[in-house]
C-alpha cells in the first residue's frame, strides 16, 4: 500500500502500527508522521501507548502489524542495533545508565574504541569532549554516574545517543525527573540540536512543555491516535480534552479556606541527611486545620528530610514538632499515626505501597492491628475485603479488583490506593509529598480534587511539591524552602511565580521587598 506516496520529507513515518499484549491492544493502527528537523510531541495519558509505539521504533519490541519508514525508505527494525544503524537514538524515561561506571564508559559502551587489546579511554574521552562542545552539553567525562544529579545524567544519555550518530532522537518523558531549571536547560539543548538539523520526538504529558517547545503534536488515547495538530494552532485545553476524551479542568476549583485551630507547629527544626550534613537548618512553620500549606522548592533542599522528620522516619537533631498541642518529636511513626497524622509519601513504590501485596492488604497497612481488621491473632480477611471493596468503589480505583497486586496498577491508581487508605483512617493532619509525580492529567485532577475536599472537611494539609503550578493552585499559604530554611511566606493570590522562583533560588522575601 501507499507505494506512490512520497515520504521523503519525513524523518519518521510509522504506518498502521498495531501491537497486542496479552489482554491489551497497546497500539491500534497508529500512524505517526514526523518531519525532518522538527520537534514533534507525542502526548497522552499513562497507558495510552506512547512508550510502546516508540519501543517499536527503537526495535525493543516488534509490531504485530504496520510499517516503518525512515527518511522515506521502509526500514526493518528488529533490535536496537538496527535502530542505531538507522540513526535513531532513544533516551529512556528510566535512564539506561550503568551507575557504577564513569560517564565516558557509559557513553562508549557497545562501541568502544580500542587500541590493540585495550580499551582506548583517552580517545573516547576526547570524542566526548568534542560532542559536548558541539551541542552545549557540558559534562565531566570522568564522573561516576551515581554521583551526578539527574539532570546531568540525562545529558549523558543524550550524548550517548549522539555518540552513536543519531539524527532522530526519541526522548521518553525527559522532564519527569527534572527540576524547573534543569528542564529549561534541557530545552536549550533540544533547540540547539534542532538548529543542527536533528529531528526530535518528545513524549510527555505535560502540556505546557508541548506548547513551549514543539512544532507539531500527535495525541494518543487508549492505543489510538486521537489527534494530529500543529502546536501553533492548538491550546493546552484542546490537547487535554483530546488526551482524556472529555472536558478536563486544568485549574483546580476551590473556595477560600476556613482555617481552624493550629494543629501542627514546627519550631527550629534541624535534621541531618544520610551523609551527616544538616539538610533542614532551623526551620519553623505551622499548619492549621482546614488549610493547605504548600512548601515550594527545588528538589534536594531538605524537603525529603523535613517530611521524614515530621512522620517519624528520621531522627531530629534539635527543635520541636508539636502536634495537637503535644510534643511528638520523639514519637514513633506508629504513635503519630494513632494521633491522626496521615502521610502520602513522595515515592509511592518505596514507601507508599507494598508492590507484591494485593490491594486489600495495601489498604490496611499501618491499620492492620485495628480491631476492625484483626482480632489480635488472626486477620479478619472477610472484613478487610469488604472494607476494600468499598474503598475501591469510593475512590474509583481501576480496575476495581481488590486482588490485584500493587505493582499491577498504573501510577495514578497506586496513588489512589494510598490516598484512600490515608483518608479512611480519618486523619487530622496530612503530610502530602509530591502527590502527582508522574501521574497523567486525569489522575492529577482527581488527586487535586480529593485534597481540596479533605481541606474543606477540616483536615490540615502540609503539601510538599516540586511542581510550582501544583503549589499555586492548591495552597492557601506558600512557604518556600531553600537549603533547609524557609525563605518567606506568601499567599498565592498576592504573589507571582517569579517571586517564588527567586525565593527558590535562595533570595529571602524581606530582601526582595527591600529591593523593590
Amino acid at each position: 500500500m501507499d507505494k506512490n506516496v512520497d515520504y521523503s520529507k519525513y524523518a519518521v513515518v510509522m504506518k498502521g502500527i498495531t501491537k497486542r499484549f496479552p489482554g491489551v491492544l497497546a497500539n491500534d493502527r497508529v500512524d505517526l508522521f514526523v518531519k525532518k528537523g522538527e520537534i514533534h510531541a507525542i502526548v497522552g495519558e499513562n497507558g495510552a501507548g506512547k512508550t510502546t509505539l516508540m519501543s517499536q521504533l527503537y526495535g525493543l519490541i516488534k509490531p504485530d502489524d504496520g510499517k516503518i519508514y525512515i527518511n522515506g525508505v521502509e526500514a526493518q527494525i528488529n533490535d536496537p542495533n538496527d535502530a542505531i544503524s538507522a540513526k535513531i537514538g532513544m533516551v529512556h524515561q528510566h535512564f539506561m545508565l550503568v551507575d557504577r561506571l564513569s560517564v565516558v564508559e557509559n557513553i562508549v559502551l557497545g562501541q568502544e574504541p580500542v587500541r590493540g587489546p585495550f580499551f582506548a579511554l583517552n580517545r573516547a574521552r576526547k570524542e566526548i569532549k568534542d560532542l559536548s562542545k558541539k551541542f552545549g552539553l557540558i559534562v565531566d567525562p570522568d564522573s561516576i554516574i551515581e554521583d551526578m544529579p539527574v539532570g546531568m545524567q540525562q545529558r549523558v544519555e543524550i550524548i550517548k545517543v549522539l555518540y552513536r550518530g543519531a539524527e532522530i532522537l526519541v526522548l521518553d518523558e525527559p522532564t519527569a525527573v527534572l527540576t524547573p531549571q534543569e528542564t529549561n536547560e534541557l530545552f536549550e539543548v533540544l533547540k540547539s540540536l534542532k538548529s543542527q538539523g536533528k529531528t526530535i520526538i518528545f513524549i510527555t504529558h505535560k502540556l505546557n512543555e508541548v506548547m513551549a517547545i514543539t512544532e507539531s503534536v500527535t495525541v494518543m488515547r487508549l492505543g489510538k491516535v486521537t489527534g494530529v495538530v500543529k502546536t501553533s494552532q492548538t491550546s493546552s485545553k484542546e490537547l487535554a480534552n483530546m488526551m482524556v476524551g472529555r472536558e478536563v479542568l486544568l485549574t483546580v476549583e476551590k473556595n477560600s479556606a476556613h482555617p481552624g485551630d493550629e494543629i501542627l507547629q514546627v519550631k527550629d527544626l534541624v535534621v541531618k541527611e544520610n551523609r551527616g550534613i544538616e539538610a533542614v537548618r532551623g526551620l519553623s512553620l505551622n499548619v492549621r486545620s482546614g488549610e493547605i500549606v504548600g512548601i515550594a522548592g527545588v528538589a534536594g533542599n531538605g524537603q525529603t528530610e523535613l517530611t521524614e522528620a515530621m512522620t517519624g522516619l528520621r531522627k531530629v537533631e534539635s527543635g520541636k514538632i508539636i502536634f495537637k498541642g503535644q510534643d511528638i518529636t520523639g514519637f514513633s511513626p506508629k504513635k503519630r499515626r494513632e494521633m491522626g497524622m496521615g502521610h502520602i509519601p513522595e515515592d509511592r513504590l518505596k514507601h507508599g505501597l507494598i508492590k507484591t501485596f494485593p490491594i486489600y492488604y495495601n489498604f490496611i497497612l499501618g491499620e492492620h492491628d485495628d480491631p476492625k481488621f484483626s482480632d489480635g491473632v488472626f486477620l479478619k480477611i472477610e472484613d478487610i475485603r469488604k472494607f476494600s471493596e468499598n474503598l475501591v468503589k469510593r475512590f474509583d480505583v481501576r480496575p476495581p479488583k481488590i486482588d490485584l497486586l500493587g505493582m499491577n496498577l498504573s501510577g495514578g491508581n497506586q496513588q489512589k490506593v494510598i490516598v484512600a487508605r490515608e483518608i479512611a483512617f480519618d486523619p487530622a493532619l496530612m503530610i502530602v509529598s509530591q502527590p502527582t509525580r508522574g501521574l497523567d492529567v486525569g489522575a492529577i485532577e482527581f488527586i487535586h480534587k480529593t485534597l481540596i475536599s479533605m481541606r474543606d472537611k477540616g483536615i490540615g494539609i502540609l503539601l510538599i511539591s516540586m511542581e510550582l503550578e501544583e503549589i499555586f493552585s492548591l495552597s492557601d499559604r506558600i512557604l518556600t524552602i531553600y537549603e533547609g530554611q524557609i525563605m518567606g511566606e506568601v499567599r498565592p493570590e498576592n504573589t507571582t511565580t517569579e517571586e517564588v522562583g527567586l525565593m527558590m533560588a535562595g533570595h529571602r522575601l524581606e530582601d526582595l521587598h527591600q529591593e523593590a
Binding site: 525493543l60 535512564f95 550503568v98 551507575d99 557504577r100 580499551f119
Partner: protein, 319 residues
C-alpha cells in the same frame, strides 16, 4: 603467658610461615578470582566449592590414567568449566535461582566425586597417590637465607595464581570485554539497549569462574599432595566467596583477602606445631576456627563498605 608470646614470635620469624601463607592462599586466590569473574557479570556463583572439588578430582583422575599431571590439570579444569557451564545454562538461559543452582552443583560434585572415587580406586576416603605437578626449583636461590626458603621451591600454581589476578584485573578494567562485563553485571538492560549481548557476556564470566575455581581445586590435589580425599576442599570455596566480597569484587582485593585467610590458616598450623605450648589434640578444633572467626570479624567490619554489582544474582529476562 610468656610461652604464648614466644610461640607467636617463633611463627613470625620462621620463613615457613610465609611460604605456608602463599601455598594456603593459592587455591583461595584462584577460586575468589573465579567468583569475581562470575559476579562481575551479575551471576552469583556459590558453586565454587563444588567446582573446586571437581577440579581436584579431575586433576587426580587425569594424572592417574595418563601418568602426566599436566593432563590431569587439563581434565580438572575441563570438569570445572563443565560444571560452570551447567550453572550458566540454568541461571542465564532459564533464569533459575542462582543460589539453588549453585547449591545443587555443590551437592552434585560431592556425589560424583564420592561415587567415582569408589568406582575408580575401589575404596572410599582417598585415591591412590598420583604424580603431582613438579615444583619450580630455583636452584641456588634456595640457599639465600629466609627468602630462599620461601620462594626456592614453590608450586607453579602459586605463580599461576598471581599471574591470573593480574590477567583478571587488566581484562576487567582495561579492555572492552571487561567494560561489557561490568556493565552487564550492573545494568543488563542498559547494556542490552546498546547492543551488548548480555547472555554471551554472562556465559563468558561464569565459564571463566569455572576455569579458575577448578585450577584452585586442582592445586589441592595435584599441586603438592598427589592425592584426592573426600571433600578435600573443606569449605575453601566459601572462604573464597568471602574473600571476593571482602575484596569488593575486585581481583586485587580478592587476592589480598585470600592472602589474609591463607595467612590465618598458616598461622594456625604453625602455632599448633609449637611444642612449647603442649596443646592437647582437642584444642586443634578451637584453633581450626581461627580463619573463620577472622572471616566473621572482617565481614562484619566491612558491612556497607563493600558493594556487590547492582544486578548480581538477578537473572536477565528479555521481554
Amino acid at each position: 603467658m610468656n610461652e604464648w608470646i614466644q610461640a607467636i614470635i617463633n611463627v613470625f620469624t620462621n620463613p615457613t610461615f610465609y611460604k605456608s601463607t602463599l601455598t594456603q592462599s593459592t587455591p583461595l586466590i584462584l577460586a575468589a578470582l573465579g567468583g569475581v569473574f562470575s559476579e562481575t557479570t551479575g551471576v552469583v556463583n556459590i558453586a565454587l566449592e563444588g567446582i573446586m572439588l571437581m577440579g581436584a578430582f579431575g586433576g587426580v583422575m587425569g594424572s592417574y590414567f595418563t601418568g602426566n599431571p599436566w593432563y590431569g590439570l587439563a581434565l580438572g579444569t575441563f570438569f570445572g568449566v563443565a560444571m560452570a557451564a551447567l550453572h550458566a545454562w540454568a541461571s542465564i538461559k532459564y533464569g533459575a535461582d542462582q543460589i539453588i543452582s549453585g547449591t545443587a552443583l555443590i551437592l552434585l560434585a560431592q556425589g560424583i566425586t564420592g561415587f567415582a572415587l569408589v568406582e575408580l580406586f575401589g575404596q572410599p576416603g582417598s585415591t591412590d597417590l598420583v604424580r603431582s605437578i613438579p615444583l619450580v626449583d630455583l636452584g641456588s636461590f634456595k640457599q639465600v637465607p629466609f627468602v630462599g626458603v620461601i620462594f626456592g621451591n614453590l608450586s607453579p600454581f602459586v605463580y599461576i595464581a598471581f599471574a591470573s589476578v593480574a590477567f583478571g584485573w587488566i581484562l576487567i578494567y582495561k579492555t572492552k570485554l571487561g567494560l561489557r562485563m561490568r556493565s552487564v553485571g550492573n545494568n543488563p538492560e542498559a547494556a542490552d539497549t546498546l547492543g551488548v549481548n548480555v547472555y554471551n557476556v554472562r556465559y563468558f564470566g561464569v565459564i571463566m569462574s569455572g576455569f579458575f575455581a577448578a585450577l584452585g581445586g586442582a592445586y589441592l590435589s595435584i599441586g603438592e599432595l598427589g592425592q584426592f580425599t573426600t571433600n578435600m576442599t573443606n569449605g575453601r570455596g566459601f572462604i573464597a566467596l568471602a574473600a571476593m566480597i571482602i575484596g569488593n569484587w575486585n581481583p586485587v582485593g580478592a587476592m589480598s583477602a585470600s592472602l589474609l585467610f591463607g595467612g590465618a590458616t598458616a598461622f594456625n598450623n604453625q602455632l599448633q606445631s609449637q611444642s612449647v605450648l603442649n596443646l592437647s589434640t582437642n584444642t586443634q578444633y578451637i584453633f581450626g576456627m581461627i580463619p573463620y572467626i577472622i572471616t566473621l570479624i572482617v565481614v562484619g567490619g566491612l558491612i556497607g563498605k563493600s558493594r556487590a554489582p547492582s544486578a548480581d544474582g538477578v537473572p536477565y529476562i528479555k521481554e
